[in-house]
């Protein structure tokens, strides 16, 4: 007993036990604690959105739809979309994993503006409560895109409340993005030059640029929409000379870059995991770094590819199509770089690496099918079908959610000071991979055959593929519930984690797990570039 006391006294108190009152958590400005608050919140929203998705898949088991009312069905898929996009995918990696590791990776004590960080969480929670209230009292049936005049004139659901919820949570995104950009510019440890930064930081920097510059446009657009909805008169109202297509331009000017808000952090996570578990330096570091930046820049010029059939100018469509192809180039470069990193590596198949491998495959499918819908002629056939649904779920769920789980497992020992049970981790990664493909691969076929999205019923010919998809969803759900169970278990019973369980190189691994409240005993000095792993021959000799 006396030895444990000495051990505890030796170490500086970790951030988890530094103070233990409820107020010390709810009023904390420690980026690590705010990351935990955010992690809990987005997990909650992930399961809310997931329940709505489960109901959607349940309905589609039979051609006439199991849910009696088509309107209820519309409200369910809208709930799924709104919650998953704004309350899970957009914030997920930056606010939880990013919040936790950005200052640690930089060798900083905290983010530049810790109070702003806390405010951002409260804004997120306020927005989330408004959104949940809107859904609880009846929900919205416009789809997550809120297109007028559907959302403004032809609709009895709670559009205004839902829009306010998204509006408020948008400011939490802006606050986080602003904090990250300023922190990365100003709080790098001595010696931490831009090219010595881990790729995760480059990704989050690019993400933050989009968060900061695109989200305000969504805010003003939703404000104009809210005005129009409340007063039944406004900017998007064609009856008085307004333009509903203008809403689509404004909305997608945010929402297409927002797709990259969702996926870029995922790229960053994967770029961290692959070198560590292959014991290889990241192949083409500068290419990967600048690809993140160029994706962020190009993402602002492709929004019109959501509007090929809206009646916009054909010449505009041609240009948007071309630019959409351009954005595929940096994305593909990254995939090749990850594969190049693995080539001749000494690969360990721990759970984070399994997720990373899943990510590379699923993202590649999601990305390539994106080219189908970026092609003008093909899109006319595929638009508004399940092909599009499958495409973006391959990117968002197969890509982004998989990367989130990979990152969560990778940094779990650092965050909690406990190891997760490895066999369970690997099992869950495999179950999620299989479940995901069974759910969404049939939807490509359904879409190609012409099944429209957002419909409550479908012709009986499509039933086999729909049943397959719903069956896959149950596997996927089981896969997502597993980590909830064993990660929670590991909080109390998991093996104690050492400072650097993976033999990784970032600064976050040079401080104890979990880190002390002020992150580092002394300010680190950086002399080495990232990912300086010994060549694999040496590693093999050691084994």
């Amino acid at each position: 007993m006396s030895t444990t006391v000495v051990e505890a006294a030796e170490l500086e108190k970790s951030y988890l036990v530094d103070k233990s009152t409820v107020a010390s958590w709810l009023l904390t400005t420690d980026h690590k604690r705010i990351a935990i608050l955010y992690l809990g919140s987005i997990t909650f929203f992930f399961f809310i959105g997931g329940i709505a998705a489960a109901a959607v898949r349940l309905n589609l088991l039979v051609p006439e739809g199991l849910i009696p009312s088509a309107e209820t069905y519309n409200r369910l898929f809208t709930t799924h979309g709104v919650i998953m996009v704004w309350f899970f995918l957009v914030p997920a990696v930056p606010v939880s994993l990013g919040n936790f590791v950005v200052p640690l990776m930089l060798g900083a004590r905290d983010l530049a503006f810790p109070k702003l960080n806390l405010i951002s969480w409260y804004l997120f929670i306020i927005g989330g409560i408004i959104e949940l209230y809107a859904l609880f009292i009846g929900g919205v049936d416009t789809g997550w895109t809120f297109y007028p005049p559907m959302s403004t004139s032809f609709n009895q659901s709670h559009v205004v409340l839902a829009v306010i919820g998204v509006f408020v949570s948008g400011f939490s995104s802006i606050a986080t993005g602003l904090n990250f950009i300023v922190t990365i510019h100003r709080l790098r440890a001595p010696g931490m030059t831009w090219y010595k930064m881990p790729i995760f930081l480059w990704s989050l920097y690019s993400t933050s640029v989009i968060l900061v510059l695109a989200t305000p446009v969504l805010a003003i657009t939703l404000l104009l929409l809210g005005f129009e909805r409340i007063f039944r008169i406004g900017v998007f109202d064609p009856a008085i000379g307004g333009d509903p297509i203008l809403f689509q331009h404004m909305f997608w000017f945010y929402s297409h870059p927002a797709v990259y808000i969702m996926i870029l952090p995922g790229f960053g996570v994967i770029s961290e995991i692959i070198p560590v578990f292959c014991r290889r330096r990241l192949f083409g570091y500068k290419f990967v770094a600048w690809c993140s930046v160029s994706i962020a820049v190009i993402s602002f010029f492709v929004w019109g590819h959501h509007m090929f059939v809206s009646g916009q100018s054909l010449y505009a469509s041609v240009v948007f199509s071309l630019l959409s192809y351009a954005v595929a180039v940096p994305s593909a470069i990254k995939v090749f770089n990850w594969i190049g990193t693995m080539h001749k590596g000494f690969i360990r198949f721990d759970a984070p690496m399994l997720y990373a491998l899943g990510f590379v495959g699923l993202f590649t499918i999601g990305g390539l099918t994106g080219l189908f819908v970026a092609a003008l002629a093909a899109d006319v056939h595929l638009t508004q079908t399940y092909f599009v649904v499958a495409h973006f779920h391959y990117v968002m769920v197969g890509g982004m959610v998989t990367a989130f789980f990979g990152g969560l497992h990778y940094w779990w020992p650092k965050i909690t000071g406990r190891m997760y049970p490895e066999m369970w981790g690997r099992a869950a990664a495999l179950i999620i991979f299989i479940g995901f493909n069974v759910t969404f691969a049939p939807q490509f076929l359904l879409g190609y055959l012409g099944m429209p999205r957002r419909y409550h019923s479908y012709p009986p010919d499509f039933q086999v593929l729909n049943v397959l998809s719903s069956a896959g969803a149950t596997i996927l759900a089981a896969g997502y519930l597993l980590p909830l169970g064993y990660l929670t278990w590991s909080l109390f019973r998991g093996e104690r984690a050492p400072a650097n369980p993976w033999g990784a190189t970032g600064l976050e691994w040079q401080t104890p797990s979990p880190p002390p409240a002020k992150n580092f005993a002394t300010t680190p000095v950086v002399t080495e570039p990232p990912y300086t792993f010994p060549p694999p021959e040496l590693v093999q000799n050691r084994v």
């Binding site: 004590r109 905290d110 802006i174 602003l178 446009v217 008169i233 900017v235 009856a239 008085i240």
Partner: protein, 217 residues
């Protein structure tokens, strides 16, 4: 605080480091504001291009003298505040506080003219674009004029909200100046608030011609 040592938060290496970071944060915040109002101005100009006659008819009903006077008041307010910043840089907290009060006074005068006088007059003239009472109802320019006043009320309302926020911030600077918190070594909050206060002017400088000047003749 003492004249020789400026404190800083634990995450920064020095007071200069903290000061530069705070300024960077405000610049970036203003960039988000540019995109926010930029979206409004874009839709405004686009809608105008589609409804020229209606927008011109609407613009002719606005109170040019109030808008012009308010422009002068707002620019003067920023000038006064910047003078306060110059005083703060030489450590004169008393003059800074007085400048803040003057800036707040001018800001409140703007709000009184804008919302007390102008908006109430607009309502009396049936310029609120919602409902059958609208002044232009039944005329060929009705739709465009309604759109103009949708933008007018949203634009001036949003600007007013930013004004109120700015006045609160300037009041906080006045309070801290009263407690003699600023010194030649520590003026960052004064500068950061000044950036915001001047930005509110810049928005107005774009709103002013959009509302009162373009299409008036």
């Amino acid at each position: 605080m003492s004249d020789t040592y400026a404190p800083h938060e634990f995450q920064y290496s020095s007071a200069e480091h903290q000061a530069g970071t705070a300024l960077a944060g405000m610049w970036l915040f203003l960039a988000t504001e540019v995109l926010f109002f930029g979206g409004l101005f874009l839709t405004w100009i686009y809608a105008r291009s589609q409804n020229l006659a209606g927008f011109d008819a609407g613009a002719r009903e606005t109170e040019l003298w109030i808008g012009t006077l308010n422009t002068g008041i707002l620019l003067t307010s920023s000038f006064v505040y910047s003078t306060g910043l110059a005083f703060a840089r030489v450590g004169n907290n008393r003059r800074l506080m007085q400048c803040c009060f003057a800036a707040i006074g001018l800001g409140l005068a703007f709000l009184a003219l804008k919302f007390g006088l102008e908006w109430s007059g607009d309502f009396d003239k049936h310029l609120w674009p919602v409902g059958p009472d609208f002044k232009f109802a039944g005329e060929p320019t009705e739709g465009g004029a309604r759109l103009f006043y949708v933008f007018y009320f949203i634009g001036t309302g949003l600007h007013g909200v930013h004004m109120v926020g700015g006045i609160v911030l300037v009041a906080m600077i006045a309070w801290r100046a009263r407690r003699r918190e600023f010194s030649p070594l520590y003026v960052t909050p004064v500068e950061v608030v000044g950036m915001y206060w001047s930005f509110v002017d810049i928005i107005w400088i774009i709103l002013y011609p959009l509302i009162y000047l373009i299409g008036r003749s």
